[in-house]
């Protein structure tokens, strides 16, 4: 049985600090088991300026079992699968501790973007490129960030504009778009 009181407290804590850190967590639907996390790309890395979305699923044993996280936004990183978005991070596996929270887990994922570990790769192709041809890796990572992470952000802005022009309040539009993971049709259904 998930400790829902703790999850609610974590969501409140994340929303308080969302302006400063840029890390957000919100429910995907009307339950606390499926969540969407959002992290900004770290400054000084090829991922700078990108907004990366992460699917979060809380197991029944949470907080004694680690949350299941994977990237929804495509990202070029040695420790993140470019195909499935699976993340290779020890605190999401055997090094999980119940004192960690969703926010600290997302911070660790953000730190992983800053400091890749090619010796323990999730994506062998990216890791090999990182080791043998670093400049190409940087260019590819930046290109993927421009193509997917920023496009996702720009797409959200366009959808917000469309829905605001329909007459809905902007704050509500943004929160619902985040909740449905950027799907304009689902957001429209929920607004009506």
């Amino acid at each position: 049985m998930i400790d829902l009181a703790r999850v609610q407290k974590e969501l409140v804590e994340c929303s308080k600090d969302a302006e400063g850190s840029g890390i957000k967590v919100c429910p995907k639907s009307d339950n606390l088991v499926l969540l969407i996390g959002t992290i900004p790309g770290p400054v000084g890395t090829p991922y700078e300026g990108g907004i990366f979305q992460i699917d979060i699923t809380l197991p029944d044993g949470y907080p004694f079992e680690p949350p299941k996280m994977k990237f929804k936004t495509k990202v070029w990183h040695p420790n993140i699968s470019s195909q499935s978005g699976a993340i290779c991070l020890d605190i999401l596996k055997d090094q999980w501790s119940p004192a960690l929270t969703l926010k600290t887990a997302l911070l660790s994922v953000q730190a992983l973007l800053s400091a890749p570990q090619p010796d323990d790769p999730q994506d062998a192709v990216v890791a090999q490129q990182y080791l043998k041809d670093y400049q190409t890796f940087v260019n590819t990572a930046r290109y993927w960030t421009e193509s997917f992470a920023k496009e996702s952000s720009r797409g959200i802005e366009d959808k917000v504009q469309k829905l605001v022009e329909m007459g809905f309040p902007e704050a509500q539009v943004r929160s619902i778009l985040e909740a449905v993971g950027g799907d304009e049709n689902l957001a429209l259904e929920r607004l009506l």
Binding site: I2, D3, A5, P27, D30, F64, Q95, A99
Partner: protein, 591 residues
């Protein structure tokens, strides 16, 4: 509308069943009149037939039953609208499944024991219908409360409205039990005892749901109040203590009272089936097989619940005994929430790294067993590795003066003597108390050869100087080990240096003795122990005096005693003089 259709179907099923019961059990003489009654009940709306029938009473009864059924259905629909407003598709589907299961398992055994009369059929049908409605409302309330608990948009008012359904079911059930008691007293037959089992089962089950979701409602209400009253800052310590005590109380109540209510529910259901079997004459027909299956399922559930409860108690007890409780001062100084559940702590367990957690949270963390070694959730320090250090600290407390050190050494000497007196003269007990354990070995062959030379010389009746030298060496090493156990860094260094200093003499001793045989590793301590014991028995008093003198000498070396005094004390023992000289050099280096 769906619920209305379901209820009508259930009632029609019961009525058809009763009619079928009439046809099969009536005698030949009453066949005509009772058949007319059954036919009349089924075709209530046929006015022309009613006029032709000679029995007007049955028509009245039929119409009355029809009216009551409609009132009951209307009442159920109103209550559903009040408590649940609108059912989800999954809730409707679950409701239908539960309804069918309940009618089959609770209703199919009644014809076995109920006399075939109109009054009995009406009574037991009403009983079954009312209990069925209560059961369905209770199940709906629990499902809805679970759904609301998992929803971040739940408000205290929404929760309270659904929670009221549980309270309503409980009150109606209590009234129904009182009504059944009235019926039982009126008739006085043992068969009517069957009326009580199922209502009591529903009472206990509803009480458990009221207990669990009552705490949930309280949590939601407190959370909502905290969000609304951000401006009003209540004292933090008071909030922490109150909420923490509430959390502990919640855990205890849900764990123990929940177990009791579960057991009561199971035993009431079991009693229901056993009593039916008893009323049926303790027979072994085909129909009884279904009763046995139900009884077996209930017994299995009871056993599993008891096993789970016992396992939980054992785990909590073990964890409770292994870790110390945090004192009130520690809780106030910590001034933080439990890092696992983010709730205030009124009582907590303190780990060796001085982090505090709830006992229940720690138990859940250990139950997961994600890693092979259990660690502190905050700093990942091993949970139970610090226990020997605690024992060491307690040992440090006991050794508070040099006099106690000397007394311990004397006690160590006296024990082998007393042990030897109780043994036969020709037998030497294996006393490892005097064996210098923990001495690091460097180069197995050479070291073993050197160490082996001493016992051989002793056994061969070597000179007294050799024997005294061996005894002195053992005592010095024992003193060094005691000093090392105190935990002082300098003593530890001295002990290691003493061990290192022994080996330069090794080549000369090995060449002098000429013995290169290496004894088995397991037998060496035994041999050395015997030798020490024999020497100790010969000159116990002299050894005590020598050890005290050497202890005093070693103690005086630490504050940098002049060389001439050292030479005076260690003149009879040239080997010891070299050790003391090394200590002096170390002392100078530290100074």
């Amino acid at each position: 509308m769906a619920l209305r259709v379901i209820a009508i179907s259930v009632v029609s099923t019961v009525l058809s069943f009763v009619g079928l019961q009439f046809c099969t059990d009536l005698s030949l003489d009453k066949l005509t009149s009772d058949g007319l009654v059954g036919w009349n009940l089924i075709h209530l709306d046929n006015a022309s037939q009613d006029i032709e029938l000679p029995l007007g009473l049955y028509t009245t009864i039929g119409l009355l039953v029809n009216c009551m059924i409609n009132v009951f259905i209307l009442l159920n629909l109103c209550l559903k609208a009040v408590f649940f407003t609108e059912l989800y598709a999954s809730e409707t589907r679950k409701l239908v499944e539960r309804l069918i299961n309940y009618v089959i398992y609770k209703g199919m055994f009644l014809p076995l024991i109920v006399p075939p009369t109109i009054y009995q059929a009406g009574l037991w049908s009403t009983w079954l219908t009312v209990l069925c409605s209560l059961k369905m409302f209770q199940a709906l309330a629990r499902d809805r409360l679970e759904r609301l608990n998992a929803s971040p948009a739940a408000t205290p008012w929404t929760y309270l409205r659904v929670y009221s359904a549980l309270l309503f079911v409980f009150m109606v059930d209590v009234l129904w039990i009182r009504f059944c008691l009235t019926i039982y007293r009126t008739h006085g037959s043992s068969m009517y005892l069957l009326l009580f089992f199922e209502p009591f089962s529903i009472v206990f089950e509803t009480l458990q749901a009221i207990l669990i979701h009552g705490f949930q409602l309280l949590d939601i209400w407190l959370h909502h109040s905290a969000c609304n009253s951000n401006d009003f800052r209540t004292p933090k310590l008071l909030d922490m203590l109150t909420a923490g005590s509430l959390l502990e109380l919640k855990g205890i109540l849900i764990r123990n009272l929940g177990f009791f209510l579960d057991m009561a529910t199971f035993f009431m259901a079991l009693g229901h089936y056993l009593y039916i079997w008893w009323l049926h004459g303790m027979a072994f027909h085909l129909v009884d097989a279904f009763i046995f299956l139900n009884i077996r399922a209930l017994l299995s559930a009871i056993i599993n619940r008891i096993k789970g409860f016992i396992r939980l108690r054992i785990a909590l007890g073990t964890l409770h005994a292994a870790l110390p409780d945090a004192t009130t001062e520690e809780l106030r100084a910590y001034d933080d929430e439990c890092a696992i559940c983010r709730e205030p702590m009124a009582k907590a367990k303190r780990l060796n790294c001085n982090h505090l957690f709830h006992l229940a949270c720690l138990r859940s963390w250990l139950d997961q067993g994600l890693t092979e070694m259990y660690t502190c959730p905050t700093c990942r320090k091993p949970l139970f590795a610090g226990v020997p250090e605690n024992q060491t600290n307690s040992d440090v407390g006991t050794i508070s003066s040099d006099e106690q050190l000397a007394r311990q050494i004397s006690a160590g000497l006296d024990r082998p003597n007393s042990a030897r007196h109780t043994m036969p003269a020709g037998l030497y007990p294996n006393q490892t108390l005097n064996t210098p354990e923990g001495v690091p070995w460097r180069g197995a062959g050479l070291d073993s050869g050197w160490w082996h030379s001493w016992p051989n010389q002793g056994v061969d009746g070597a000179g007294p100087s050799t024997a005294i030298r061996t005894v002195g060496l053992g005592r010095v090493q024992m003193m060094m080990r005691h000093l090392a156990s105190v935990g002082e860094t300098y003593a530890q260094t001295a002990f290691e240096d003493t061990a290192w200093n022994l080996w330069p003499i090794n080549p000369s001793q090995a060449s002098a003795s000429g013995s290169t045989i290496s004894p088995p590793g397991g037998r060496l301590p035994e041999r050395t122990g015997s030798l020490h014991l024999r020497n100790a028995s010969q000159s116990a008093n002299d050894d005590v005096a020598n050890i005290l003198a050497m202890a005093e000498t070693v103690r005086e070396v630490l504050p940098h005693i002049p060389d001439d005094m050292i030479f005076q004390f260690s003149k009879p023992f040239p080997f010891i003089r070299e050790i003391l000289f090394k200590h002096l050099i170390l002392g100078m280096c530290d100074g």
